[in-house]
């Protein structure tokens, strides 16, 4: 009977014997699969840490709202004054389409406050140094009559449990639009990532992993002034 059953691989299923199963896969394939799955979280940590640690720090006033959408993790929406720009009050392009790229140029003004002075659909040329200007790249969310709403990369903030626990204590009712400050790390290509949140005098830094030996990777030293355009 068992000899007959062996001729029915569909029936035997998981109990297949070696001569019917053929030679199995090599150990190295499993090893590679394990290394791949292990590398993914570390790669994510490394890339994120690299982006947060390098770049120019820019501190902005921010209001926070809990995102109630299809996200897989709890998220907070960070709204800064730079998310809405009156295009008639700045230089540069004035016709934008929803979903299009936009580059916002910031420059130091009086009292060391950085203001947006131009918006453009094209990336800046090299030579726009961080001491002279700062560029944020984003996408146009909505176009209104005189202003545009812009979404950068940093607005969707995934808070850790510790941050979530601190938010209601430091800022009552944060989910309705609490106010605080956010430190961004702005890279040379205009991408911005959250470096820290400042809530009621307490700074909640974004965790990072040690990147490498000192000197191998440049750490951003430049720092923009504390407040950006008043709302």
């Amino acid at each position: 009977m068992s000899a007959d059953l062996r001729k029915h691989p569909q029936i035997l299923g998981p109990f297949m014997l070696r001569e019917y199963a053929g030679k199995p896969l090599g150990f190295w394939r499993y090893l590679l699969a394990a290394l791949l799955l292990t590398a993914l979280p570390f790669l994510a940590m490394y890339i994120r840490s690299l982006r947060v640690e390098n770049g120019t720090e820019l501190r902005l006033p921010v209001s926070m709202e809990r995102v109630e959408d299809r996200a897989f993790a709890p998220q907070i929406w960070l709204q800064t004054p730079l998310n809405t720009i009156a295009i008639k009050s700045v230089a540069g392009d004035n016709n934008f389409v929803e979903g299009g790229r936009v580059f916002v140029f910031l420059s130091p003004g009086p009292s060391a406050v950085w203001y947006p002075y131009a918006v453009s659909r094209r990336a800046p040329q090299k030579g726009c140094e961080i001491t002279d200007c700062l560029v944020l790249s984003g996408r146009v969310a909505t176009v209104k009559q005189n202003e545009i709403d812009i979404v950068y990369q940093f607005e969707n903030y995934v808070p850790s449990k510790a941050v979530l626990a601190k938010l209601p204590e430091t800022n009552n009712g944060y989910s309705k639009g609490a106010r605080a400050e956010v430190s961004l790390s702005v890279s040379k290509d205009g991408r911005a990532y959250v470096r820290a949140l400042h809530l009621g005098g307490e700074t909640i830094s974004q965790p990072t992993i040690p990147l490498t030996l000192d000197g191998l990777i440049h750490r951003g030293e430049s720092k923009a002034p504390a407040t950006n355009p008043p709302t």
Binding site: G22, P24, A33, A34, L36, L37, R70, F72, V158
Partner: protein
């Protein structure tokens, strides 16, 4: 020497000559894959795409082939899972949770490896599923700790890519099915939000990998799901681009027709090398091409937007923002059709003239869309209106190809091909009838166009058919048109 193979649910034993493989695809391809490997080991033959299966040294793996090895792996797996769940429940350290998840990944893969060595496929799939779940847990905590927003698009696209990589590495039909499901979900997510994902450019390469792996494993379910995901992606992307006024509706439909022709030719090439599901891919591509051509014909019989066409934004070809990318993709697709014809020609399955004809037919609808003003001007010089002439020409082409499909189906005894041909002819009759009834002189135009198209199809099929007939063994199922 004869050996006897009996399939499940089959009371009639199938007798095969020694050395002949009698393979049947199953739902996931697992059994087929095992049989294939067993056959290769016994006969030293290569699999579908000419690769030998991995054959690691048996001497070093003795421990893992014994029951004690399985018990050891099971023990380690249970311990790693317990550690993972314990850490999730009682530890507040995100790093510890990430490492616990990764530990469970290694434990689960060890179980999958040992189960695979002992051909316990259920346990192997359990280990693989547990490894993927544990990796997901580790990635989720990484995202939450390091402020990485997980959008549905990113999760689904990432899931599809990672599972495709795992399917390639571990030759696991489970992952092939999962990667196809991820791809389908990703496409549906984009379609429901009426937005093209920023990662959409990865889809064609991902789809090609999925299809290659599924066909190689002869796994029916992943092949079906991958085909569906490709069609969904194509349809959804073109629909979204049309609604968002990036391309015109005619550009979308003619592009779909060309992709259908390309799919058909790839299916034909697959049949030439006896790749699994070649006929299925050919039929799917043919259906897509014919449906798109019929839709296009419906437009050109009146020459202006009507009925459902009014639901889409009216945009001229030259005003389309994606004019240049569309043109580049069309040229590349026609070139690929030419490559397929060239390869078939090298195998003696198609003549040079046949290849030229196929390329011409493939480029017909996109060319009509792109050069509408020039065609209209040319016809106006001869006092001919482009509508319904272009519609009748498209209809005649569809009719000729349907007749060709019908004859091919009769010759090969394939009911599916005959049914498809009948359906296309019926649809064609319904669409063209009103035009012929209103203007009986159109019947002459239509008849001549059918005749010319049929002769062209006959000429290009003839040489290849004769060559193939001389080369192919009886009942081989090879296709020559």
């Amino acid at each position: 020497m004869h050996s006897q193979h009996t399939t499940a649910n089959d009371n009639h034993p199938v007798t095969a000559q020694s050395g002949d493989a009698v393979f049947h695809g199953d739902t996931t391809g697992q059994a087929s894959y095992r049989k294939d490997r067993a056959y290769q080991n016994a006969n030293g033959r290569k699999n579908t795409f000419g690769r030998q299966s991995a054959a690691p040294s048996e001497a070093n793996m003795g421990f893992f082939t014994r029951p004690i090895g399985l018990i050891f792996a099971l023990g380690l797996w249970v311990m790693s899972l317990a550690l993972c769940f314990g850490t999730l429940g009682y530890s507040n350290s995100p790093y510890l949770r990430i490492f616990a998840g990764l530990g469970a990944v290694w434990g689960s893969l060890l179980l999958a490896f040992v189960a695979g060595r002992q051909d316990r496929m259920t346990l192997r799939d359990l280990g693989l599923s547990a490894a993927l779940s544990a990796a997901s847990i580790a990635l989720w905590f990484t995202a939450v700790t390091f402020n990485i927003p997980l959008s549905p698009s990113l999760v689904l696209c990432g899931g599809a890519i990672v599972t495709a990589l795992l399917a390639g590495l571990l030759r696991a039909p489970l992952f092939m099915t999962m990667t196809s499901l991820f791809a389908i979900s990703w496409t549906l997510d984009s379609a429901l939000n009426m937005k093209i994902s920023s990662l959409a450019w990865t889809f064609p390469a991902l789809w090609a990998v999925q299809m290659f792996l599924s066909v190689d494993a002869r796994a029916k379910l992943p092949i079906f799901l991958t085909t569906v995901s490709g069609l969904l992606w194509l349809g959804a992307s073109l629909f979204v681009l049309t609604i968002n006024q990036q391309v015109s509706a005619l550009m979308a439909v003619s592009g779909l027709a060309l992709f259908g022709v390309l799919h058909t030719r790839i299916g034909k090439s697959m049949q030439d090398v006896r790749a699994y599901s070649g006929l299925f891919q050919t039929n799917i591509g043919w259906s897509i091409a014919v449906i798109a051509a019929l839709v296009m014909q419906d437009y050109w019989l009146s020459g202006m937007p009507h009925g459902t066409w009014n639901l889409f934004p009216n945009m001229s070809f030259i005003d389309a923002p994606l004019l240049a990318p569309w043109s580049a993709v069309m040229v590349a697709s026609v070139a690929l059709v030419g490559c397929c014809s060239f390869l078939r020609g090298r195998l003696g399955k198609q003549s040079f003239l046949g290849g030229i004809c196929i390329v011409g037919f493939a480029a017909l609808l996109p060319a009509i869309t792109a050069f509408t003003p020039q065609i209209t001007e040319f016809l106006a010089g001869k006092d001919i209106s482009p509508a319904p002439l272009i519609g009748l020409v498209i209809g005649a082409t569809v009719t000729a190809f349907s007749l060709g499909m019908l004859i091919n189906g009769l010759r090969r005894g394939k009911t599916s091909m005959m049914l498809m041909a009948f359906a296309a002819l019926a649809a064609e009759a319904i669409i063209v009838m009103e035009s012929l009834y209103d203007n009986p002189e159109n019947l002459t135009v239509f008849g001549f166009a059918v005749l010319i198209s049929a002769l062209t199809v006959g000429v290009y099929a003839h040489k290849g058919y004769e060559r193939g007939l001389a080369q192919a063994p009886a009942n081989s199922g090879a296709v020559y048109a």
